[in-house]
């Protein structure tokens, strides 16, 4: 070529460089200048379908974020598929989302067995399995599974918190435990036992389990009462928690009643069970219960309520699951915002492990999200509360579960 063409070409090249630099985002599959693709599985069918509200709340929240301009100018495409709480289906949907739809990351999939099915796969493929919606303890293991992170306070931590309270305030307690016969129930059971340590075998006088397919847990409650226990640890999902509270009242049994965090909603559990039957029940919280009158005039509650009315109108405003989904989605948005233009999977994990004192408005005052390269448990704080017939009276200090060996 002659000199003129060469100069023309070089100038063109020179002029195009800055243009390329402006659009410089670093992208892994699923991210681009305009879009961030996030994948999720939730049980929209089958016996665990009550939890499907979480996925729907998250989708609604991402719609809100998109309406408000997206994240750093990029819109979120949220692909949420049904896995019916069946691990093989979860595996299939994950492979579809990662290999076929090419999402950037997987977020808030629900359930321990479903997440277990894809745990090794995600770490092999080096795709983030972020903020999984289960309280099992195994999701906070950055050394062996650097691509997986939990979100909520894990069940064992909660069990330990109750155990610590019992050891301090009810040292001669005889404990009876009702638990759901699955990973969630057994995790809580383990937490309580670990927290009691060597005293566990002496203090725990009865344990009964139940399946979700059973009509009632009345028979188990009768058995537990007959053990002579004066402390009751209630590890059940909302339907059975309400039944248990009611049956205990009917039997005239008055143990100190510890209720797990999953089932402490005023609207979904305490009221159906009969509010006077639940007076004195102790539980832990990290989010605000939308049916608790004490938050009626709270600014954060009003904001959440307005969000529900606009974006998820047929959602259940009495259910804590919607607050859960809302707050988890906010955490995800924070991480993506911190990523800026570097939307590689590695950076997503790096930012997820870089949350410092993040305060989200539907978390209880004082509870903050913290993560670090060795700390893959975003929320570790909870607060105890006692039910007064209308709502929950928070008491004591914010307890941190960090000391409990994560």
């Amino acid at each position: 070529m002659n000199r003129r063409t060469a100069i023309a070409l070089l100038t063109a090249a020179g002029l195009s460089l800055p243009a390329a630099a402006v659009a410089a985002g670093k992208y892994d599959p699923g991210a681009s200048d305009t879009e961030i693709k996030i994948g999720n599985t939730n049980p929209y069918s089958g016996p665990a379908s009550a939890y499907g509200q979480i996925g729907k709340t998250i989708a609604a929240y991402f719609n809100k974020v998109n309406d408000e301009g997206g994240i750093n100018g990029r819109k979120i495409t949220f692909l949420s598929l049904d896995d019916g709480y069946s691990p093989p289906k979860t595996k299939e949907q994950y492979r579809r989302l990662v290999e076929s739809d090419k999402v950037l990351l997987m977020f808030q999939s629900l359930g321990t067995p479903p997440n277990s099915a894809v745990h090794a796969y995600m770490n092999r493929e080096k795709v983030p399995q972020l903020f999984v919606a289960t309280g099992a303890t195994k999701w906070g293991d950055p050394q062996n599974f650097p691509w997986t992170m939990g979100w909520q306070p894990n069940y064992q931590t909660e069990g330990r918190i109750y155990a610590a309270y019992i050891k301090k305030n009810l040292p001669n307690a005889k404990i009876a435990i009702l638990f759901q016969n699955d990973d969630y129930g057994k995790d809580y059971l383990q937490g309580m036992k670990d927290g009691l340590g060597s005293l566990a075998s002496k203090m725990i006088v009865a344990e009964e389990s139940y399946e979700v397919t059973e009509p009632t847990v009345d028979s188990q409650i009768i058995k537990l009462k007959a053990s002579g226990a004066d402390v009751f640890f209630n590890v059940t999902t909302p339907k059975f928690a309400a039944q248990a509270i009611r049956k205990i009242a009917e039997l005239g049994w008055k143990p100190t009643h510890f209720l797990n965090n999953v089932s402490n909603s005023v609207g979904s559990v305490m009221n159906p069970a009969g509010p006077e039957n639940g007076i004195g029940v102790i539980s832990t919280f990290y989010t605000k219960d939308p049916t608790d009158p004490q938050w009626k005039d709270d600014a954060a509650y009003k904001k959440w309520s307005a969000f529900m009315d606009k974006y998820y109108a047929d959602g259940d405003k009495k259910s804590t699951f919607t607050v859960y989904g809302y707050t988890a989605a906010q955490t995800m948005v924070q991480v993506l915002q911190q990523c800026g233009d570097d939307l590689t999977r590695a950076n997503v994990m790096k930012q997820a492990a870089n949350l410092k004192d993040l305060q989200l408005d539907m978390l209880l005052p004082g509870i903050k999200i913290n993560t670090g390269p060795k700390d893959f448990f975003p929320i570790e704080q909870m607060q105890l509360a006692k039910f007064n017939g209308k709502g929950w009276d928070l008491f004591g200090e914010i307890i941190s579960g960090e000391a409990s060996g994560s």
Binding site: S45, P47, A50, D218, S219, I222, K223, A226
Partner: protein
Amino acid sequence: MELFLHQIFSGLATGAIYAAVALAVVMIFLAIDHFNFAQGEMAMFSTFICWALIDAGVPYWLAFVLTIAIAFAGGVVIERVLFRPLHSAPVLSHIIAFLGLFFILNNAAGWIWDFTIKPMASPFPAGSFGGLISYHQVGMIAVVLLMLALLFLFFRFTSVGLAMRAAAQNPDSARLCGIPVGWMIALGWGMASAIGAVGGILIAPVVFLEPNMMLGILLYGFAAAIVGGITNPAGAVAGGFLVGVMENLIGTYVPFVGSELKLTVALVLIIGVLMVKPSGLFGRTTVTRV
């Protein structure tokens, strides 16, 4: 002793639940000689309709009666529209049709009313007899026995009842006698659906209303019907109470079963009874010509 007594009464209470479902199962079986795997979902759907009516302000008893009527009509319509075309199809087609109905009802209920539990009003006062058994549960037992008595009277002393039994046992002869067999079957479906609805409305206050409340109960209902005798409504009710009490006693006193293997107990019961006495404890052994 106190434990034992409590478990018995609790067993009777759950037994009433199983008996109600078993009654609906037997009803359908008497009408069409088939088990309806979607029975539970039909009952659940009817209960939701009742709940929705009450939620909209309709007084309890009016809602109750309306729901029974709707359930009855629904049962008839389902039979005429869905199952009449399958009239001469092999058993497998019927099973698939029941399963299709199951999916449709379960998903529709979840879509319309979502999956959070809903407390269901009870027509009986709150409280219990000395903590042994609540007024509602006693009321439930009473209603089940009442339904049983009504059914007995219907089949024994009315001509429609007689016609229905004839249509189920020998459709061809019945037709020759001028009995509209098709409508008898539809009637049977309607009645089974209505009985199921009553069952659901009484069960929901105890177990809390949600779309998935019936599958486990349905299995026990089947077990109860088998144990009691699939051709005998009274047997089915007795079977229900028996299964409820036994489930509790075995769960309490047999060490390795505990509460963990209750479903397996139902399984063993079903298979055991079917093997030893297929017609159930109170059923009539049918002899067929070869």
